[in-house]
């Protein structure tokens, strides 16, 4: 796409904690569906969003099986966003802050996620048409 834009997002919230993650995913989806190039730098708790060992679970309190519970997994949303970006002719480059990953033992990320440093965020900012930082409270 000749006029494809590039947007960079910095995320900081861990999964299952705040509506900011949902909003962030909605923004990524909207950009991906335009066929744009989307950069994500995941900082602090956000490095757990694409953590590969997230697992669905049953809900004994409500008597639901794993299948019935259909527990949402952010790693699957990240994977879906990457597929959406590719399908529309764009890309989604996701970089996890390496030190944040090490601190949390969250090194096993889904395929397509890279390990990096704040220097990568700087490069993403330099190469983007614009950047949105979504900070924790």
């Amino acid at each position: 796409m000749a006029d494809a834009k590039t947007l960079t997002f910095l995320l900081m919230d861990p999964p299952y904690e705040d509506a900011r993650s949902t909003t962030a995913f909605r923004l990524l989806d909207a950009a991906a569906r335009r066929g744009w190039h989307v950069n994500v730098f995941a900082y602090e708790g956000a490095v757990a969003l694409p953590f590969a060992k997230q697992a669905p679970h049953a809900n004994a309190v409500h008597g639901r099986s794993v299948e019935e519970e259909n527990h949402p997994l952010p790693r699957e949303w990240v994977r879906a966003l990457m597929e959406t970006a590719r399908a529309y002719g764009g890309s989604l480059d996701w970089v996890n802050c390496g030190l944040c990953v090490d601190e949390r033992g969250a090194g096993e990320a889904i395929e397509g996620v890279r390990r990096g440093s704040p220097a990568d965020f700087w490069k993403m900012v330099e190469g983007a048409d614009n950047t949105l930082v979504i900070p924790t409270r």
Binding site: A19, T23, R34
Partner: protein, 108 residues
């Protein structure tokens, strides 16, 4: 003049600094800058008529474009007809389009 995109995700009932964010939007608009305030998540709560919505009406009066995320409104059962004058429902796509346009963006 500069063009700004201010994103407000908090409500003034639980975050006292929302007023400061609104004042920033007003000040920028009065200086002649182009300002869009996009309300998302609980940021849409004061957009209801009579729910401290006078502040948002004043923003619109100062020339700030005030938009409320349609999804956040639906999540909270707020009908578009229940919004104070000057606030318009909008899809979140507006945010990425304004980012791509090069707006100076700030999330609160």
């Amino acid at each position: 003049m500069a063009k700004y995109l201010l994103i407000e995700s908090r409500d003034p009932f639980t975050s006292a600094d929302v007023d400061a964010h609104w004042q920033l939007a007003t000040s920028l608009a009065r200086e002649g800058d182009t300002v869009t305030l996009f309300l998302v998540q609980n940021g849409v709560l004061p957009a209801r008529l009579r729910a401290r919505s006078h502040g948002l009406a004043e923003l619109a009066g100062a020339g700030v474009e005030v938009l409320a995320d349609e999804f956040s409104l639906r999540e909270r059962g707020i009908a578009p007809t229940a919004l104070v004058a000057g606030v318009r429902p909008a899809p979140i796509d507006v945010v990425v389009d304004l980012l791509a346009e090069g707006r100076k963006a700030f999330w609160h």
